[in-house]
């Protein structure tokens, strides 16, 4: 029932949000007001664009995440079979961790973990 279940929960979310939005699209009273549809910025008109190139700091961490998460995915199958493979798996993962740790140390030393 797993695959149907996925569809079911997807549909549930869809229904809840869809119903709520449709409901409050028709039921509440509407009022027209020019100021109402302005962007909120503490009551002052916005100055300049808001969709511009943004600080690289955020992306840097996304890239870091990508590197480490891809490697973390390899850990999952290892974690499951750890109990059976015992020592071999342990030594293998130790090597893996050392490499991963070195990568982290490298990033640390290169100040990549420092927020700019």
């Amino acid at each position: 029932m797993n695959s149907e279940g996925l569809i079911l929960f997807f549909l549930l979310g869809l229904t809840l949000v869809g119903f709520a939005i449709v409901f409050s699209y028709f039921i509440p009273r509407k009022s027209e007001n020019l100021q109402k549809y302005e962007t909120y910025e503490c009551g002052i008109p916005t100055y300049g664009l808001s969709w511009i190139q943004f600080n690289v700091g955020y992306y840097l961490f996304a890239i870091m995440f990508l590197i480490f998460d891809v490697e973390a995915v390899f850990l999952f199958p290892w974690a499951v079979v750890m109990k059976e493979l015992k020592m071999v798996a342990f030594i293998e993962i130790l090597i893996f961790f050392v490499i991963l740790g070195l990568g982290l140390m490298y990033a640390w030393k290169k100040q990549a973990l420092k927020w700019e």
């Binding site: 910025e41 503490c42 009551g43 664009l49 808001s50 690289v56």
Partner: protein
Amino acid sequence: MEDILLKNKLDKEQEYFINMGPQHPSTHGVLRLLVNLQGETVKDLKPYCGYIHRGIEKMCERYTYSQIIHLTDRLDYMSAHINNEAVCLLVENALQIEVSDRVKYIRTIIDELTRIASHQLWWAAAGMDLGALTTFFYGLRDREKILDIFEETCGGRLLVSYNCPGGLMYDIHPNFQKKVKEFLIYFKKKLPEYDQLLSGNVIFVQRMKNVGLLTKEKAISFGVTGPSGRASGFSSDIRKKEPYSAYGNVKFKEILREEGDSLARYKCRIDEMWESMNIIEQLIDNIPDGSYFTKMKPIIKLPEGEYYQRVEACRGEFGVYISSKGEKNPYRVKFRSPNFFNLSALDHMSRNQKIADLVAIMSSLDLVIPDIDR
């Protein structure tokens, strides 16, 4: 040539301006800051004031001297009583009226209670600005005890209007001394909790440390007084420099720190609360007998000349400048508001800090907007 123009234009477009205020939770009132951001970092900011400007200085030119007092309440409403005292002291000094020791003692005690209440609210709001909402309720809970004392004696909670030229509006309430002593016992238990909740907290310390640095030279140059200035090592306590009321009779330390960052400003205020309690303790049992009011002429006329009186309000030096032409109304009144001077340093302090630091710096400066706008 064209290339440079185009590049300039692009740079212009890439600038990211954000308005903080006038309707913003962190400005504690209607102050507007136009912040130029680069990612999360503040490049510079410009304050825009005047949203709550009431022209108090102009109004004062039409009022008699006793009427001015109730307007000073409305400048820095957190140190209402101290502001009142500045005008009263100015008038008394100008007319060379000697008020009784009782008046001086009571004024000093209420001054210090005002200071504690103000710092309690500041502590509450400082925690709230940094996201620890619980502190707000603890601070206000303790402040309520002081406001109750004020209400019983002065009749007002926030804007007490208890001073008048020549003394006080009425004598202290019979319960006053008892209540103040009870409060001291109560608050001595609660103040360590403030430390446990915020001062020692690793998140809080890291958010405040080395944020918004202000050197001593810059603090003097910007005229940053009060706890904010003293955190930079600028010894600006009027209570020590030019003692007024009963400050000459008490022993207390001027809290000074060298670091000049937000954490130092925070700690200065916490220590000032202890010091204020120390001052009250010395005075509360020794209030001398005497009249609470020196009779004055019904219409006060200051002799021609110019007068300046400074007092230590909760956020720094509060000064009143009055130029008199010998009439019952002053010719020109100017209030030296500590917050306006403190605000001028905000741009300098928050450059190259993060936007979250800007909030921390503002809460450590403890700006009260009506005092800036007047």
